[in-house]
């Protein structure tokens, strides 16, 4: 009886298209490294170069990681950049200007992040305003508050302990900052892949009503994700402050677009079609490698902007052709 209708059996075989899709970005990255290695002998392919790049890009990487959490749950959080700045200047003001102990300043910065997340969540989840609108608004509000707190000036003199914990302290020649990124990515990966919570977030992002009728507290999951992204952003702010040894009231927003780019680019790699932490981290370093290489070759900086944009579009294009130009589920 019952003829099998379609005949795709379950397979766990090696699949070239699948592999290309998952590791395409990594392969392109390796090719690019090799290319720059040949063009810049002795300079590019040094441990030093990579260790520096890994450390320098860590605030951006943390931000990209922060972003993918609400993105997975179906919400945009544009306020991550502003929250990063808020956290950095909170540490600056409390520790350097008001002389409070570093620990207190750090806690206050993290608490500020949580507060931003809760405010976002209140308007998005309770009042039901689109997340893009709310986080656009909070970005503007936070930017104003930061200007007020810092008088629009960079705040120097942050405790060297923070700098030691982020930049000066090294393991295998790489600043601790990088390991924080890895630790955060690992944590997100474990939660996304190996916990029920991760699956719930995914369902909330892809089918709110389905999730609700399956007994998932959709509101709570969304609130949690928004708070998590704000908290991670404020950790990003700590990393940024530790890296500079100062708190800069302006740069946070500049990290925003690259972080979005990395989050989306990352969704084409490792676990294609889903926002995923390893993809995001690899994307950040992929883009940074290109820019570092170009800069070392003495190419003017405007080229790096073009590279950034073109690499994003082309990488996603390639991944789209591998998938046969299906409409993606993300975005």
């Amino acid at each position: 009886m019952d003829t099998p209708l379609s005949t795709s059996p379950e397979r766990r075989r090696f699949n070239v298209a699948d592999f290309t899709e998952r590791f395409g970005l990594v392969l392109v990255w390796i090719v690019m490294i090799a290319g720059f290695g040949i063009l810049l002998p002795g300079i590019f392919l040094s441990w030093m170069n990579f260790s520096i790049m890994f450390a320098t890009q860590s605030p951006g990487a943390v931000l990209a990681l922060a972003l993918i959490i609400p993105l997975t749950a179906g919400d945009y959080d544009l306020s991550v950049g502003a929250t990063l700045t808020l956290s950095a200047v909170t540490v600056g003001v409390l520790n350097a200007v008001m002389g409070l102990p570093l620990g207190v300043a750090v806690l206050a910065a993290l608490a500020g992040g949580v507060a931003v997340g809760l405010v976002n969540a209140f308007f998005i989840v309770y009042v039901r305003i689109p997340s893009l609108v709310v986080t656009l608004g909070t970005t503007s509000v936070i930017t104003g508050l930061v200007q007020w707190m810092t008088n629009s000036s960079t705040i120097g003199g942050i405790s060297p302990t923070l700098v030691n914990m982020v930049m000066r302290g090294r393991l295998f020649g790489i600043s601790y900052a990088f390991y924080y990124v890895i630790a955060i990515a690992l944590a997100i990966w474990l939660v996304f892949e190996f916990t029920p919570l991760g699956r719930r977030i995914l369902f909330v992002g892809r089918g709110r009503e389905v999730a609700r009728l399956s007994g998932i507290d959709v509101g709570r999951v969304r609130v949690g994700c928004l708070v998590a992204s704000a908290l991670l952003s404020s950790i990003g702010g700590l990393v940024y402050a530790g890296l500079l040894g100062a708190a800069d009231p302006f740069s946070g927003l500049n990290f925003l677009l690259p972080a979005f780019a990395a989050a989306y680019l990352g969704a084409t790699a490792i676990i294609p079609g889903r926002f995923n932490p390893w993809g995001a981290v690899i994307s950040v370093y992929f883009l940074a490698t290109g820019i570092t290489g170009l800069t070392m070759m003495g190419i003017p900086l405007w080229v790096t902007s073009v590279f950034n944009g073109a690499a994003l579009i082309l990488a996603v294009t390639v991944s789209q052709f591998v998938r046969g130009r299906q409409e993606t589920d993300i975005g």
Binding site: T56, G156, A246, M296
Partner: protein
């Protein structure tokens, strides 16, 4: 005797020493009764952006000086968008201001139609601390008080010559979009050309102001790695140095590569105290404010406007950084003799 290296080094050292001395006041012109000119006049100061503390500091002091002499000074708060500057000038025209002060940053070329409108309406638009004396001021301006950015670069160049004893290899970080950059970099180049045959500018990194936060650090790191002989980085505007400092530290070249810069921004002075930056060429905001108002009032009084904003440049390094205060303040360390000087020149009291 004909050792160009040693001679150049000697000249450089002398220039450095001159600017290490606490500055002295020199009258910008003949004495005049400033109150008589200023009484009842209104001036609108438009900064490049109100988030620039350097400019805001100047304007705050302009307002105070204005109170002393009877000139009403207002700031046009803005976020650095040219259409807000346009709105500011239109506001000044509509509300019968006498002077618009484009203080250090609003490029007159960006708002020419409004300059024409202002001229037609009898509002005098001045710039101060924007052009270098070597640059042509926009003809639509009622007057201009240029500032020697060239001199700032000149001092930075000579500082590196002096410190390296004639073997400076410099990475310059700049922003070509603002007009002061060109004379400033020319000053550095001239210093090396005239006083140091062995010094070189290894590379010039051009970063747009809006991209400082994301691009300076990686670009400087890449430059340091590809130029192992570098021993100085000049972030020509000292607010850049917050991104240069970690770049130098991360590359592990802190011992060998020093940072010299200019503007006297307080947090950079703090960096000097912490040993992360070596030198900063500063100028007194209050002095700039007074010299600016002095120049404008002279013009209103029908007197000759000074050819240059007579504000001295002063070197901060580890030897004198304590005079700037802990934490540093924008206006400390320059002495206060000039205040009395202006008072006398302006016939106050």
């Amino acid at each position: 005797h004909a050792d160009p290296v040693a001679e150049g080094l000697a000249r450089a050292t002398q220039i450095v020493e001159e600017h290490r001395a606490v500055p002295t006041f020199q009258a910008p012109g003949e004495s005049f009764d400033i109150r008589a000119v200023a009484a009842g006049k209104k001036m609108l100061s438009i900064p490049n952006t109100s988030s620039n503390q350097f400019l805001k500091g100047i304007i705050r002091r302009e307002i105070e000086v204005g109170k002393e002499i009877g000139l009403e000074v207002r700031e046009w708060e803005n976020q650095g968008q040219p259409n807000q500057w346009v709105q500011g000038i239109e506001y000044a025209i509509a509300n019968d201001f006498d002077i618009v002060d484009l203080i250090s940053g609003v490029n007159p070329a960006v708002i020419e139609p409004q300059l024409e409108a202002a001229k037609a309406a009898g509002v005098q638009v001045f710039t101060s601390h924007f052009y270098d004396p070597s640059q042509e001021a926009n003809p639509l301006l009622a007057g201009d008080l240029p500032f020697s950015f060239y001199g700032q670069g000149w001092i930075m160049g000579n500082w590196a010559i002096h410190k390296t004893e004639g073997a400076a290899n410099v990475i310059v970080v700049k922003s070509d979009e603002v007009p002061p950059t060109e004379p400033l970099v020319r000053g550095i180049r001239d210093a090396f050309e005239q006083n140091c045959p062995n010094c070189t500018i290894l590379t010039e990194i051009n970063v747009g102001i809006t991209e400082w936060g994301t691009k300076i650090q990686p670009a400087v790191q890449a430059a340091l790695l590809s130029n192992p002989t570098a021993n100085y980085v000049f972030p020509i505007y000292d607010s850049m140095s917050q991104f240069v400092v970690p770049a130098v530290e991360l590359t592990g070249r802190g011992e060998m590569v020093k940072i010299a810069t200019g503007n006297g921004t307080p947090f950079v002075l703090d960096f000097i105290r912490e040993g992360r930056v070596e030198m900063d060429v500063g100028e007194s905001l209050d002095w700039v404010a007074r010299a600016t108002i002095d120049g404008y009032m002279r013009k209103l009084a029908g007197l000759e406007m000074p050819e240059e904003l007579a504000v001295p440049l002063y070197i901060f390094d580890e030897t004198n950084i304590e005079t700037a205060g802990t934490p540093a303040e924008a206006n400390k360390g320059y002495g206060d003799e000039y205040v009395a000087g202006f008072h006398e020149n302006w016939q106050l009291k």
